[in-house]
Symmetry: C2
Subunit: 167 residues, 2 copies
């Protein structure tokens, strides 16, 4: 048995995809279908930060997510490598719902950041991811969802290989 005291401040759910398409601007007069971003093969990062998150933990989560060896390198027989090594794309999706805790039949979000703080931390996380990808000279496209919006999303995957990471 593994007993630990947790103070979870940041949560990421990771899925592998062949492609994904995310709405970043909802339908409006100029764009009746909304505006979408696309990624090709790569990593979808659903992300949520909780009260008490620190800059150190934001950085740690970004490093963990991008350095975790969870992507098959098809050119080397399916060996697991991190998303930087396979030059995979990255789609970051804000998902405050991951901070929910079930009480009875309802979800409570008491430890979630306020919207203002949440947006600030979300932007920091994206910036760190972009910096790490640049530092590693990886040829990865980074796209991200619009904080606070409904995340209208299509995914194609040949195995989501879903992982849960927290800091």
């Amino acid at each position: 048995d593994e007993a630990k005291i947790y103070y979870i401040r940041g949560i990421a759910v990771l899925q592998q995809c062949l492609s994904a398409k995310l709405q970043v601007i909802p339908p409006n007069d100029d764009n009746p279908d909304g505006v979408f971003v696309n990624i090709d093969r790569g990593l979808i990062i659903y992300i949520c930060f909780l009260r008490g998150i620190t800059d150190e933990k934001i950085e740690k989560l970004a490093r963990s997510v991008l350095q975790a060896k969870l992507s098959e390198n098809y050119e080397s027989g399916g060996k697991l490598q991190n998303i930087l090594q396979i030059n995979g794309d990255v789609l970051i999706i804000p998902q405050a719902t991951l901070g929910g805790k079930l009480k009875g039949k309802s979800m409570q979000y008491h430890t979630n950041l306020s919207k203002t703080e949440g947006l600030d931390v979300y932007n920091k996380f994206i910036d760190i991811c972009k910096k790490l990808i640049q530092e590693n000279k990886a040829n990865s496209v980074v796209q991200n969802g619009t904080y606070g919006n409904r995340q209208v999303l299509n995914i194609q995957t040949n195995g989501p290989f879903t992982h849960f990471i927290h800091v």
Copy 2:
């Protein structure tokens, strides 16, 4: 701050979808494209069980997942109800990777069930979900992935509203 001792035995990641399509038989001579199941609007349940899981916890997780009020009832202005109340479909996807714990840059799965035990518990979970849906006279289609297979999957969602539940 919230301090707890966790003994996590079962994990579910929940996502809302408009539709989803999952491969249940890989391509073979008779079915060159493989065989797929589909659901319409409903709930995707990624599920993983760990060593020490009990029948009580399997049942508790099934009830939690199906009774959690996470689905918008469009007919009542978006009020959140559970999947049974909106007669939404259910897609259960085995996802042993959710049991992973990151050590350095690699995932370890030391607390995962063996494949034989995992299949047994997975089948129990599906049976309980079907039983609960029948008891509630919900008009929900239940589909599920093939344990141990690669989960080739397409999802369309107008907001995954991702939640993490454990027992």
